[in-house]
Structure formats: structure tokens, C-alpha cells
Amino acid sequence: MSNAGEPQSVDPQPDRPDLAEQPPSPGALFRLLAGPEHVLAPERSALAGYYRAAFSSDDGETLERYLTDAGHAEILRRRAAGDLTLSSEEFRQWTVAPDMVALEARYHAEAGQGA
């Protein structure tokens, strides 16, 4: 399904035009604003394995993104090291659009890579 070692882009979701987005420009930086924390279900219970975090882009836009276990661990690792900034490549590698289908697709892609 995927090229070896090359994370597949799983967003934007074709059925979610509100999530359609242009790939970040190569030099863009994204700063962690909040999270990561578990995604909440509609009844406010936390969902295991589904994480979210908020980032700010260079132009000041606030972006909510979802994270897999791997993305969650990476963001925590970076935060513990005092580094709150992701490059555009890291942003695409470790986060997905805030959509459960996108997150499941990323999990699927990671499993294919043995992540």
C-alpha cells in the first residue's frame, strides 16, 4: 500500500471538504499550542488510541490535528525535550487532519510500515 519508509498522506478527506488543505510549504513551522490529549467522544469520554493537539502555523492560524500512538509519543518526546516546533515534514508525518477516518487511515499506513 505504501512506499517503503514514505508515510502516505491520508488527508484531505474527499468527503470532508472542510478538511481539505494544501500541503504545508517546505519551510513552514508549526508550534505546539496545546495537548496532546485524548480525543473526546460526543458524551465527553476520552477515546483510547485517539489523540489531538493544537498547533499554530507561521501565519498565526490555529490548527487542530489528530495523532496516532506514534505521533502522540513523538510529540511528547519533543515536548519533554523542550522543543515545541515541528517542521512541515514532521507535521505531516506525525499528525493528520482532525478526523477519525483520517486517523484510522494513518494507523493502517503505520501498520503497513511496521511502525
Binding site: 485524548h38 483510547a48 488510541g49 511528547l76 518526546r77 515536548r79 519533554a80 511502525a115
Partner: protein, 135 residues
Amino acid sequence: MRLKLPAEASSCRAARELLRRLKDSIPAAVLADMELAADELLTQSLLVQPPANGTITFEMDASRYEVTMAVEDVADPVGPPRPITADDAATLGLVVVDQVADRWGMEQHGDVIRTWATFALPSPADEDVRPAAAS
């Protein structure tokens, strides 16, 4: 039940899948809390003290009244584990474990670090919380 997992983030999902096999014997609400705690226990194990041997042991032990799960890893022999601070607890999600588990703790036995969490199981007489498969 003991499961050897690679010391990588994908093991969180493997642990959750193991827990979901118990859906017929553990109430859904308790199981959901256990999955959250498993996420956090495994993640903190990977981040605070990366296992020296590249594996993590995920263990579960159930009785009639409670179920305990634990994550064990072999500490890096070059130094003792870094003490967990209040900031770490907030950062690494142990606050979540504290919120959802009835008891939890961290122990060191030789070079093995064991972090555990225990969840009380409701009385089988309580019709409202009995799992559907048992009714």
C-alpha cells in the same frame, strides 16, 4: 496473562487489542478506562526510561473483584531510573491513570521497573453494570 511487546509506540495498539478480547467479561466502562490507562502506562514507559532490552512486558491479572494491569521494562543499566516528578506525571499522562484507576503505582525490582494500575470490577449482582454477554 503476559505479553512481550516491542518497545515502540505501536505496542499501545497491541495492548488495547488484547484488552478488547476481554469485552465479554469486563464491563465496557471499566474496559474503556483500562484502555486509556494502558495507553499512558506504555507511553510513559517508552519516554521516561526507554527499555534497555527493547521490549516491554504487558501483564494482566484478574480476580473476581478487580483486574490489575502492569507494564514492566528493564531499566538502562547505566543509571537508576529518573524519579517521576509532578511535572512528569502531568506531562506523561499518569494523571489520566490516577483519574481512571482505583489504585496505581510504580515499583522497582532489581533492574525491572513495574508500573501498575488496578481497576475494581462491579459486583455481578449489579444488573446495571453487568456486561451484556453475562445477562
